[in-house]
Symmetry: C2
Subunit: 182 residues, 2 copies
């Protein structure tokens, strides 16, 4: 049982879903490809944490809808109380910034403009999902007992972060421009 396995278990605990759907739900929070998810689900089912029913669809391919078992729910609650692993960030920009003095002015500027664009895209995506869950929960997303409370706080975190990162990039660009004017 690794972190991703518990993540899938947590999503399935909220809403029974297919592997494909879990992959999409997971995207904003933990990037994982379907090739990693499908074997994990099979393993979780094999070990009794989940069960699935094959759902026939006429217009689309059939799907396996996974739902949590009692054993799965117990494991999930134990996991939530266990100490949380420290976050790991892998950002190529950070490594490039480390040797920024070897880049020419144009390259340096492009680096942070590129990041601003990326942050704006992410921000839009977060705001879009936020609107969706606000409509679904009809104005009570700040109720901790509501299933979408987790999404609500995570999305507002994402928005905050992206806004701050944009500000940081703009600050760096100012420092870079200053040098260029001299």
């Amino acid at each position: 049982m690794n972190t991703l396995a518990y993540g899938l278990l947590g999503l399935v605990a909220r809403t029974p879903s297919s592997g494909y759907d879990l992959m999409l739900q997971l995207q904003p929070y933990w990037q994982a490809k379907h090739s990693q998810i499908y074997p994990l689900l099979a393993k979780l089912e094999h070990n009794g944490y989940m069960q699935f029913t094959r759902v026939h669809q006429t217009d689309r391919p059939d799907k396996k809808v996974y739902s949590i078992t009692e054993k799965g729910k117990t494991a999930l609650k134990l996991w939530l109380a266990e100490p949380t692993a420290e976050p790991v960030a892998r950002d190529e920009l950070v490594l490039k910034a480390c040797c920024l003095s070897f880049a020419d002015a144009r390259t340096s500027r492009a680096l942070f403009h590129e990041r601003i664009d990326h942050c704006r895209e992410q921000l839009q995506m977060y705001q879009h999902i936020m609107q969706e869950i606000e409509q679904q929960s009809e104005g009570s997303p700040n109720d901790p007992s509501h299933p979408s409370f987790g999404d609500y706080i995570l999305l507002s975190w994402g928005c905050r972060r992206m806004q701050e990162d944009i500000k940081w990039c703009e600050w760096v660009l100012e420092l870079l421009e200053k040098k260029n004017q001299e």
Copy 2:
């Protein structure tokens, strides 16, 4: 040549260093164990991006000090101009937050208190390194041509982020407390 390889190349370009030293320098920016770094350095040397000299030490074990070659410098500059990979974050807290409605009040609160502690530790570390490079560069860390400019902007980014993350955790804890009082 993967991202970590370029990261090592970038550090070596600034200051010739041993594998052990590179591992320590890299820690704040990209977590990598020595078991990943040593074979990579050997590969980089084998492919002509770096060279090393064995430095004898009396009080400590001998070390291999790596320095960049012309081929390495060329590769480094090309990398800096290439499009940057999107950042990847893997944070167990995010997955736990997704199914926060399955946790009891005590467990939920502990989760965010734990994160606040972690952020405070990180913040202290960043501030400490910041002070060191401020002393080294004697009040000109905001000069983009200075080799420590990269560290300066990255550390201030780290500080900003940790401060914002603490604020976010405190906001979440307020929402959790509110519910508890009702």
